[in-house]
């Protein structure tokens, strides 16, 4: 059985570890004081122990500092015994940093590939989630079963860094879908439409988007749609904005979305889910809160 060493933190890393532990031997290194949980996985205390005996290393951290520290000083990987040392970055890095890191690490015999997971709800990962793979087709062949154990949809995007770039594209549009849905639904509701009518009509019309399909029926039924956090989305959109500025892409709407998410994250807290954004539109638009009246 393949042994996977996973270093990371938070809900996404815990989800990845749990998925992997179903079919692989997994050992985990918590990089953030107790936020990484996985029943059945062996817990280790340092990176060297993680690498020792691991066939593949997965890095899944929401912290840029942790990613930087582990990727810029890869001495710990020398403890690994695998012939080909493959490091899969499932966190969200800056695509250009990933490109340059992959090049540097290849010079010391380490293959860095990026394979970030986009999901708004890990409980429904098979429905509208995907892993975006940046790396060679040969490496993808060798790690595909590992990635598919996390999420059945794996999309090859190009060389190292392309997976991270693709995830930023997807994250930015997904965030826009949701913010646009709240904004437009608030306008409709204040002008006399019911959320239930909008859920039916808009999703059969050209206003359809993935958020309207999930969020509007959930709002009408007072249900949740996501477990991704505001802080995570704000970070994604910030990285997307940085890439846009670097490459000279205006991205007017997504930049507005970035500001909105940062404001919401500051207002409600980084750890609340993106479903809580609905409350902001309700207050800002003068709508009654769900269940009121």
């Amino acid at each position: 059985m393949t042994t996977i060493g996973l270093a990371g933190s938070g809900e996404t890393a815990s989800f990845v570890a749990r998925q992997l532990a179903r079919s692989h031997s997994v050992r985990i290194l918590d990089t953030d004081n107790g936020s990484l949980h996985c029943d059945g996985a062996e817990q280790v205390n340092n990176a060297t122990s993680l690498a020792k005996g691991a066939d593949i290393i997965v890095l899944c951290s929401g912290s840029d500092e942790v990613r930087e520290a582990m990727l810029r000083r890869p001495d710990w990987l020398e403890a690994g015994t695998a012939d080909k040392r493959i490091l899969i970055d499932m966190g969200q890095g800056d695509p250009d940093d990933t490109r340059s890191l992959a090049k540097q690490l290849s010079e010391v015999g380490i293959t860095l590939v990026d394979a970030p997971l986009h999901t708004e709800d890990t409980a429904a990962v098979s429905e509208a989630s995907a892993i975006f793979f940046g790396g060679s087709a040969t490496v993808l062949d060798s790690v595909r079963s590992i990635l598919e154990a996390v999420c059945p949809k794996v999309i090859p995007c190009g060389d190292a860094g392309s997976g991270h770039a693709m995830r930023l594209v997807v994250a930015a549009i997904a965030a826009c879908n949701r913010l646009i849905t709240y904004e437009c639904a608030a306008m409709g509701a204040r002008n006399g439409l019911t959320i239930a009518d909008m859920a039916i009509v808009l999703n059969k019309s050209s206003g359809y988007n993935s958020a309207s399909a999930r969020v509007l029926p959930a709002l009408a039924a007072n249900e949740r749609t996501a477990n991704v956090t505001l802080g995570s989305w704000a970070n994604d959109l910030t990285k997307a904005s940085v890439v846009a500025m670097r490459y000279g892409a205006p991205m007017l709407i997504a930049t507005m979305a970035r500001s909105t998410l940062d404001a919401a994250s500051n207002r409600l807290g980084e750890s609340v889910t993106v479903d809580r954004l609905a409350g902001i539109w309700e207050i800002d638009s003068g709508l009654p809160a769900p269940g009121a009246g």
Partner: protein, 305 residues
């Protein structure tokens, strides 16, 4: 049931064609060529909107703006002059809900019921008879006119008895569509600048919560060199101004809608009054100084795949 249709432009003409052969049909339009085409298919040309109304039990209108509806209803030789108690007017214009409610109140004094039933969808769906019809207004009038609407498309929705709700829904739909369209295009432009191929971005977006009407329709069409919309940009700007107006009336903040409106306005000012919505693709490309389709990159990716 005798039916009259006023406004045989691109959308109105496509909708009215479904009524030929199903109802005795009278038509009126300022464009004589459009009228002649319907007469050849068996419709009767009315000399004035008033004459059309006298010869119809149900009068449908599909005009560019609410101001045009007002002129056709209440102007000289207007529809109102030919209406009598019990007749029904169906406004399929993407109009201003409050103004439409005003028209309904005026006609009610004559015993005439008016409801709104704008449509939502691409021109291809209007031609195919699958477009969404979003009606609102008195249930009684809606039920009586329903066979006419269902002849145009089976996808008919009724959004309450308040006249104008259909137009509000259409306006919300337009705003969502335009905002998602422009957001998708501008972010994909960023991806193109990084070097991601359009085809793989389209696959990734459509596999995830990023998917929307644009990613499913316009992005594949761009990759294949096809046109995916046929709509005047000026009318799209008008629709979005209407959405911003509805938001402002109710003091609802629309920061993203406001940015989308500005981008469309820049496009219209740059391209001119005759521009099509489809040309916004080029506007977004030039704003980002990139091209969505790079044959070499796409071919390279397909080969690698």
């Amino acid at each position: 049931m005798r039916v009259g249709y006023i406004g045989l432009g691109a959308m109105g003409g496509a909708l009215a064609r479904h009524l030929i052969g199903k109802f005795p049909l009278s038509v009126f339009d300022l464009n004589q060529k459009a009228v002649d085409a319907f007469v050849e298919l068996g419709a009767t040309a009315a000399a004035t909107p008033a004459e059309l109304a006298r010869n119809s039990d149900v009068v449908l209108l599909c005009l560019p703006r609410s101001s045009d509806v007002e002129a056709v209803l209440f102007g000289p030789n207007g529809v109102a002059q030919g209406l009598s108690s019990g007749k029904i007017v169906v406004d399929q214009t993407s109009g201003v809900p409050a103004e439409t409610r005003g028209f309904a109140r005026q006609l009610e004094e004559k015993g005439v019921l008016l409801f709104d039933a704008p449509v939502s969808g691409a021109m291809a769906t209007a031609i195919a008879g699958t477009i969404s019809i979003i009606a609102s207004g008195p249930k009684e009038a809606f039920q009586r006119a329903l066979p006419v609407l269902q002849s145009i498309s089976p996808n008919v929705f009724h959004c309450g008895e308040r006249v104008g709700n259909g137009q509000t829904m259409k306006t919300v739909n337009n705003m969502m569509n335009v905002s998602c369209r422009l957001a998708t295009l501008e972010v994909v432009a960023m991806g193109r600048k990084f070097g991601l191929p359009l085809e793989v971005m389209t696959e990734a977006i459509n596999a995830t919560t990023a998917r929307n009407y644009t990613s499913q329709g316009m992005l594949p069409a761009i990759a294949q060199g096809r046109q995916s919309t046929k709509f005047w940009l000026a009318l799209q700007v008008k629709d979005i101004h209407q959405a911003i107006g509805l938001a402002a009336e109710q003091r609802v903040p629309m920061p993203i809608g406001g940015v989308a409106r500005s981008i469309l306005q820049i496009g219209l000012n740059s391209l001119g009054k005759e521009a099509q919505l489809e040309q916004m693709i080029g506007v977004i490309e030039s704003m980002a100084d990139t091209k969505f389709v790079d044959a070499a990159t796409n071919a390279e990716f397909r080969e690698a795949k």
